[in-house]
Amino acid sequence: MRLEILDRGHRLGTKALLALIRLVSRQPVVDAVKLAFYRPDFYGGGDLSHEAMRGPSAWSIGDRELMAAFVSKVNESQFCIAAHSATSGLWYGDHEKVVATLAEVENRADRRAAPGDASHAGQAHARPQY
């Protein structure tokens, strides 16, 4: 079962916004957005996310989105891998570069996590599947 409050529990203004998103995009509102917009007085991580991903930084937006894609790979979140990879690729104007970089970083991580090394058991478990 899913939480009904994330489908029907938003405040009136938020419901209107979600309806507008559905109308303009002609797609269902993604779950991550429904979650982020529910009880922002409690969770409300948007300001932190925006500052980290779009605020002043030595890293470009493409760099940050690429790192987010890598973290998403470690977390095995297919939706987040796709979303951050796409945004990073758009920023660089080169999606293949993003795919190749992610593969290279993961290969390096694999080589470091030698089989049988107990200290890497957690990472080995957390590695994404393809």
Binding site: M1, E4, G9, D41, F42, L48, E51, G55
Partner: protein, 106 residues
């Protein structure tokens, strides 16, 4: 203190200490992923380490144990932020270690 540090601290304080529908002790336990009993323990463990493996049954079991949807929302958010917080702290320490800087100088 950077804007990110301030926003990060505010977020953690908000989910742990603000008014919520679940007891602060339960939110803290979910944040720490420690000291929980079943079926909440399984749900929180999955959110922290294998979020992709959360099933309808995991949520249903926690509801059957008496938690409301808002309480489940709160503890899941706490669990996710708690794990992210540990990964963030660990990453900062690794960067400080790699660059030879003392931890906390940021």
């Amino acid at each position: 203190m950077t804007d990110i540090t301030q926003l990060h601290r505010a977020l953690v304080a908000r989910v742990l200490d603000s008014d919520g529908t679940s007891p602060p002790g339960l939110r803290r336990a979910a944040f720490d992923n420690a000291g929980l009993s079943e079926p909440i323990r399984t749900l929180i463990e999955k959110v922290a380490y294998r979020a992709y493996s959360v099933t309808d049954d995991d949520i249903a079991a926690v509801r059957a144990a008496g938690l409301t949807e808002d309480q489940i929302f709160e503890i899941v958010v706490c669990a996710a932020i708690g794990q992210a917080n540990r990964q963030y702290t660990s990453a900062l320490a690794s960067v400080a270690n790699a660059t030879g800087e003392r931890e906390g100088r940021r």
